[in-house]
C-alpha cells in the first residue's frame, strides 16, 4: 500500500500524472479525498528543487586512456563529463525529442532546408570569464568537420558544406536540405569551446553549469558549481564527484552502502536483488538503443529474402526481453525506430514468433545446413546467452543455428560490419533520418546489414528535406516497412537504460535521448537531505 502511494507520488513528480488522475487512483486505494489532496500537494511541493550538497556518482565505462578533448569523448564516463562542463547549441527535449534552444536561442531554415541561420545567445560567459561569441561557435564546428579531425561527430557533420558567421549570426550551408539539422547539433561531442578548442582542445573550459576542478583519466573527476551559469533550471548541487567504477558488483556495493548517490549500468541479472535495498531507487528509462542480430543482405545465404524472413520469424522476442533484459525493455519489430522518435509510424503490425511460418519461408528459401551466427559479450550484455536462446527458438522451426563465440578483443574490427551474421547493438540517434542514414543508406560507413536499395536511399533523401510533417511521417512509414520486410536486421528488443540512485536523489529526468538522463544526470538532480 505505502509502496503504491510512493509509486503514485513518483508519477506526479515525473509529470506523468495530473491531480485528477491521482485523486481517482487514490480513491481506488480507499484514501480519503482530503488526504489525497494533501498527498498531492506534498508531492508537488517535493518537486521544488533544493540547492546545495555534494553529489557522488559511480560510473562504469572510464579508462586510463580517456581523453579530455570532447571530440574524442567515447566512453560513458566522458559522456557525463562533457555534459557537465559544456554546452551545445541545441539540446533535445527529454520526452518529445524535439530540438530545444541552448546556446543557440533560435534558428531559421531556408525554404529548401539547405541553409540555416542560428542566433547565438548573448551574455554567456566561459568558465575563464571570456564572453561567448559567434566566432567560438564557428571555430568549434570547423574543428569537428575538419577532415583531419578525429572527432566522434565527424559522421554527423559530413553534410555541412560551409560554416560562417554573418553579422553575429551563425550560417550553415548544407550539401542537401535537412529538416533535422538543429538536432544534429545536439551531438554530445559538439561542446562549444573558447576559440573552438583550436588552441587547447583539452582545456575543459566551457559554458556549462559546472567547472572542472580535477580530472584523472580512468579514476575520478570533480566539479565545482559555475556561479555565472546562464541558466537557473540546472546545476542544483554545489559540487560533483564522478568516480570510475568498472566493476558491476563494486557499483552495487557502493550504492547500497550509501557511498555514492547514483550508479549506471545496473545488470538486469542483479536489478531485482538491488530493488530490495530500502534506500535504493531503480531508474529505468525506455530508450532508443537496441540489440540486433544482423545479416548481410548481399552475402549467401542471407541474400535470399525468404531465408531472412524465416530467421526473423524464428526469433522469440518476448522471451528475449524477459530473459536477457530481465523485463527492462520493449520488444522490437525489425526496424530501428520506436515510439520515442518524433514522427514514429504507428500501427505497423508487430512481428511475432511463429515457428510454422518460419519453417515455411525456410523451406521456400531452399537453404539447408547450419547457419553460422557469431557473437560475443561485448556485442551487448548477455549477447552470448541471447544467441543460445535464439538457437533454441529457431530449432523449433527446423532451422539449425551454429553459435560461434568470438573474442571480445577485436570484435568491432573483425566481426561486426565484416562477418555476414553476428550480434551487435545500436545506440539511438536524435532523429529517424540519422538512424537510417547511419546504418541503412547504401553508401553508409556503418551499413552493417549491407542493405543497398536505390528506392530506399531516394525516399530517405526526400524525407530529409520535407518540411511538411504529415507527408514526412508517411515517408518514414514506407521506409520502416522496407527495412522490416526486406532488410537484414533482426531486432528483437529495445533495451531500457537501467540506472539506480539512493532515495535522496530527486528530480531525475527520464530522458529518451540517451542513458543517464541523456548524460545530464549530474546537472539535473538535487539532493533531498
Amino acid at each position: 500500500m505505502s509502496d503504491y502511494k510512493d509509486y503514485l507520488t513518483r508519477q506526479i513528480m515525473l509529470g506523468k500524472m495530473n491531480r485528477r488522475e491521482f485523486l481517482g487512483r487514490a480513491a481506488a486505494l480507499g484514501i480519503a479525498a482530503s488526504t489525497a489532496n494533501t498527498l498531492f500537494a506534498a508531492s508537488a511541493a517535493a518537486q521544488e528543487p533544493k540547492r546545495g550538497g555534494h553529489l557522488k556518482l559511480g560510473l562504469e565505462g572510464a579508462a586510463a586512456t580517456d581523453s579530455k578533448d570532447p571530440a574524442k569523448a567515447l566512453s560513458q564516463f566522458l559522456f557525463v563529463v562533457v555534459r557537465t562542463w559544456g554546452d551545445l547549441l541545441v539540446e533535445s527535449h527529454p520526452t518529445t525529442g524535439a530540438a530545444v534552444p541552448a546556446l543557440a536561442e533560435s534558428w531559421e531554415p531556408s525554404a529548401d532546408a539547405a541553409t540555416w541561420t542560428f542566433t547565438i545567445r548573448k551574455g554567456v560567459k566561459f568558465h575563464d570569464g571570456k564572453e561567448l561569441t559567434v566566432e567560438d561557435v564557428v571555430k568549434t564546428l570547423q574543428r569537428h568537420t575538419d577532415d583531419k579531425s578525429e572527432s566522434g561527430a565527424l559522421g554527423v557533420m559530413k553534410s555541412i558544406k560551409e560554416i560562417k558567421a554573418d553579422g553575429g549570426k551563425l550560417v550553415l550551408t548544407l550539401t542537401e536540405g535537412n529538416a533535422d539539422l538543429p538536432l544534429l547539433l545536439s551531438d554530445y561531442h559538439l561542446v562549444i569551446q573558447p576559440n573552438g578548442g583550436m588552441d587547447n582542445p583539452d582545456a575543459m573550459i566551457g559554458t556549462g553549469p559546472y567547472k572542472v576542478a580535477s580530472f584523472e583519466p580512468g579514476v575520478r573527476a570533480t566539479f565545482e558549481r559555475n556561479q555565472d551559469d546562464w541558466r537557473t533550471d540546472r546545476g542544483y548541487v554545489d559540487s560533483i564527484e564522478l568516480i570510475a567504477m568498472n566493476d558491476a558488483t563494486a557499483r552495487i556495493a557502493a550504492l547500497s552502502s550509501g557511498q555514492v548517490h547514483f550508479i549506471n549500468r545496473v545488470d538486469p541479472k542483479t536489478v531485482n536483488l538491488l530493488k530490495r535495498a530500502p534506500t535504493v531507487e531503480i531508474l529505468n528509462t525506455s530508450g532508443r538503443g537496441h540489440y540486433v542480430f544482423i545479416m548481410h543482405c548481399n552475402t549467401a545465404p542471407f541474400d535470399n529474402n525468404d531465408l531472412r524472413m524465416a530467421l526473423k520469424l524464428a526469433m522469440d522476442r518476448e522471451t528475449m526481453v524477459q530473459r536477457i533484459l530481465g523485463g527492462y525493455g520493449k520488444i522490437g519489430n525489425d526496424f530501428p525506430i520506436n515510439d520515442t522518435y518524433a514522427l514514429f509510424p504507428e500501427g505497423i503490425e508487430q512481428r511475432v514468433y511463429d515457428p510454422d511460418k518460419a519453417a515455411f519461408h525456410y523451406k521456400k528459401s531452399g537453404h539447408s545446413g547450419p547457419v553460422l551466427l557469431r557473437t560475443s559479450d561485448v556485442a551487448f550484455p548477455g549477447a552470448v546467452d541471447a544467441a543460445v536462446l535464439y538457437q533454441e527458438s529457431a530449432k523449433k522451426a527446423g532451422i539449425e543455428i551454429e553459435v560461434k563465440r568470438e573474442p571480445g578483443d577485436g570484435y568491432w574490427t573483425n566481426v561486426w560490419n565484416a562477418q555476414p551474421f553476428c550480434t551487435s547493438y545500436w545506440g539511438g540517434r536524435p532523429t529517424q533520418d540519422q538512424m537510417y542514414s547511419t546504418a541503412y543508406l547504401s553508401n553508409a560507413d556503418w551499413n552493417d546489414t549491407r542493405f543497398q536499395r536505390e528506392d530506399f536511399d531516394k525516399l530517405l533523401l526526400e524525407a530529409r528535406s520535407e518540411l511538411d510533417e504529415a507527408k514526412r511521417k508517411d515517408m518514414y512509414r514506407t521506409l520502416a516497412m522496407m527495412v522490416r520486410d526486406e532488410g537484414g536486421v533482426i531486432l528483437p528488443m529495445f533495451n531500457d537504460f537501467v540506472n539506480a540512485s539512493t532515495k535522496q536523489v530527486k528530480g531525475y529526468v527520464h530522458d529518451i535521448g540517451n542513458d543517464m538522463s541523456n548524460g545530464y544526470v549530474a546537472t539535473r538532480v538535487w539532493l533531498d537531505a
Partner: protein, 370 residues
C-alpha cells in the same frame, strides 16, 4: 657450536647463519657463480680476479648486465604481442564508432602506417633516453601518469607486505612448533581456505561485511591527490586486507615446509638432545638454514603484490598500475603498455636478484667460496 670447516674465526655472538652444519641442505640455493665466461668488455684475467675476491659484487654486476638484455627482449616481445593482437590502436580506440576517415586520421597522426620495425626503433630511441613519450589515447605524458599510478601501487603493496611477510613467517614458525597439533591444524585450514578462494571473492566478502553491512570500512578505495595520509590509509584498508589474505597462505606454508625440512636434520637433533627449547631450536638453528627458499617465495609474492593485483584494483576501484596497463592493452596504447611492461619486468628481475643475493648472504658457504 662447532666451527665451520672453511670459515676463519668463529664469531661467538651467534649471528644468524654463522653456524654452518655439515649436513646443511643446499637445495634451492644458486650454485657458485662462475662467470669466467667470455665477457667482451672487461679483460678476462681482471674479471677472474674480481670474481675471486668479490664474488657477490661480481654476481650483482653480472645480473645487472643480464637484466638490461632481458628488458630489451621484453620490450621486443611486448611490441610483438601488441602487433599480433587483432586490430590496431585506431580501430580499437574508436571501437564501434570508427569511421574509415577517423581511423585514417589517427593512423597518419601516430605514424601507424609505417613498418613495425621502424616504429619499434623509434620508440626504443626515445625509451633509451628515458623518454617514454605520450599516451596515444589520452595524450598525457606516460612518465607522469606512471609516476602517479606506480606510487599508488607501491603504497598498496608496501602496506600489504608490511603486514603479510612478518605474519606469514611468524605463523609458519608457530605451525612448526605446534606441528600436527591444534594450532597447526587451524593455521593450515585457514590458509588453505584463503588460498582456495579467488581474490575477487575475498574482496567481495570483505566489502559485504565491512562496508555494506557494518559500514565501518571505506569503500570504494579510490585514492586521489588531495587526500590526507590518514584518509589514504583508511581507503586502502580493505584492499590491503584482501591482499594479505591472498599472499599470506603461500608464504606461510613455504616457511613451514622449509623449516620442517631442516628439523629432521642431525644438528637439530643434537640441539634437541642438548636440551634446548623447541622455539629456540626453530628460531636459532633451523630457521636460518631454511631462509633461502622462504626468501624466494617472499620475493615472488612481493612481485605479485605490485604486478598481479589487477583484479583487486578493479574490485576496489583502486587506481594502480595493473588497471592502467589493462586499459592501455584494451585500446593497444603502445607507449603505455611498453612502459608498464618494462616496469613490471624490472620489478621481477630486481626482486629475484635480491632474493638470490639474500640467499647467498644467508649461506656462508656461498658467501666464501673457495
Amino acid at each position: 657450536m662447532e666451527s665451520g670447516p672453511i670459515t676463519g674465526p668463529v664469531l661467538t655472538d651467534g649471528v644468524a647463519g654463522e653456524t654452518v652444519p655439515r649436513s646443511a641442505d643446499l637445495s634451492g640455493v644458486p650454485a657458485k657463480p662462475n662467470p669466467a665466461a667470455a665477457t667482451g668488455e672487461i679483460g678476462g684475467s681482471f674479471w677472474r680476479r674480481f670474481v675471486f675476491r668479490r664474488p657477490l659484487a661480481a654476481l650483482i654486476l653480472q645480473r645487472l648486465g643480464l637484466s638490461v638484455g632481458l628488458l630489451f627482449a621484453v620490450s621486443l616481445m611486448i611490441f610483438g604481442g601488441i602487433e599480433a593482437l587483432p586490430g590496431d590502436f585506431a580501430t580499437t580506440y574508436l571501437g564501434q564508432s570508427a569511421t574509415p576517415q577517423a581511423v585514417e586520421n589517427i593512423r597518419k597522426d601516430l605514424g601507424l602506417d609505417r613498418p613495425w620495425s621502424e616504429r619499434y626503433l623509434n620508440w626504443l630511441g626515445g625509451a633509451v633516453k628515458g623518454d617514454f613519450g605520450t599516451s596515444w589515447a589520452s595524450k598525457n605524458s606516460v612518465s607522469e601518469q606512471i609516476g602517479n599510478r606506480l606510487g599508488n601501487s607501491l603504497f598498496l603493496a608496501f602496506f600489504a607486505a608490511l603486514i603479510s611477510v612478518p605474519l606469514a613467517v611468524g605463523l609458519g614458525m608457530l605451525a612448526v612448533q605446534f606441528r600436527n597439533r591444534l594450532p597447526d591444524k587451524i593455521i593450515n585450514v585457514i590458509s588453505l581456505a584463503a588460498i582456495s578462494l579467488p581474490e575477487f571473492f575475498i574482496g567481495y566478502l570483505l566489502i559485504m561485511f565491512f562496508a555494506v553491512q557494518l559500514g565501518v570500512a571505506t569503500f570504494p578505495a579510490t585514492v586521489y591527490d588531495s587526500m590526507t595520509f590518514s584518509e589514504r590509509l583508511s581507503a586502502i584498508a580493505l584492499p590491503v586486507a584482501t591482499l594479505v589474505l591472498v599472499v599470506l597462505a603461500h608464504m606461510m606454508r613455504m616457511t613451514r615446509a622449509a623449516i620442517l625440512n631442516v628439523m629432521s636434520s642431525a644438528y637439530v637433533e643434537t640441539a634437541e638432545l642438548k636440551g634446548l627449547g623447541t622455539f629456540r631450536i626453530i628460531a636459532r638453528h633451523a630457521a636460518p638454514n631454511a631462509v633461502a627458499p622462504v626468501i624466494n617465495v617472499i620475493a615472488l609474492n612481493l612481485a605479485y603484490l605490485v604486478v598481479g593485483v589487477v583484479v583487486v584494483e578493479v574490485v576496489f576501484v583502486y587506481p594502480g598500475m595493473g588497471q592502467y596497463m589493462v586499459d592501455a592493452v584494451t585500446v593497444r596504447d603502445m607507449p603505455v603498455v611498453q612502459a608498464c611492461g618494462l616496469i613490471f619486468a624490472a620489478f621481477y628481475i630486481f626482486l629475484n636478484m635480491a632474493a638470490d643475493i639474500l640467499a647467498i648472504l644467508a649461506n656462508p658457504r656461498l658467501r666464501h667460496p673457495r
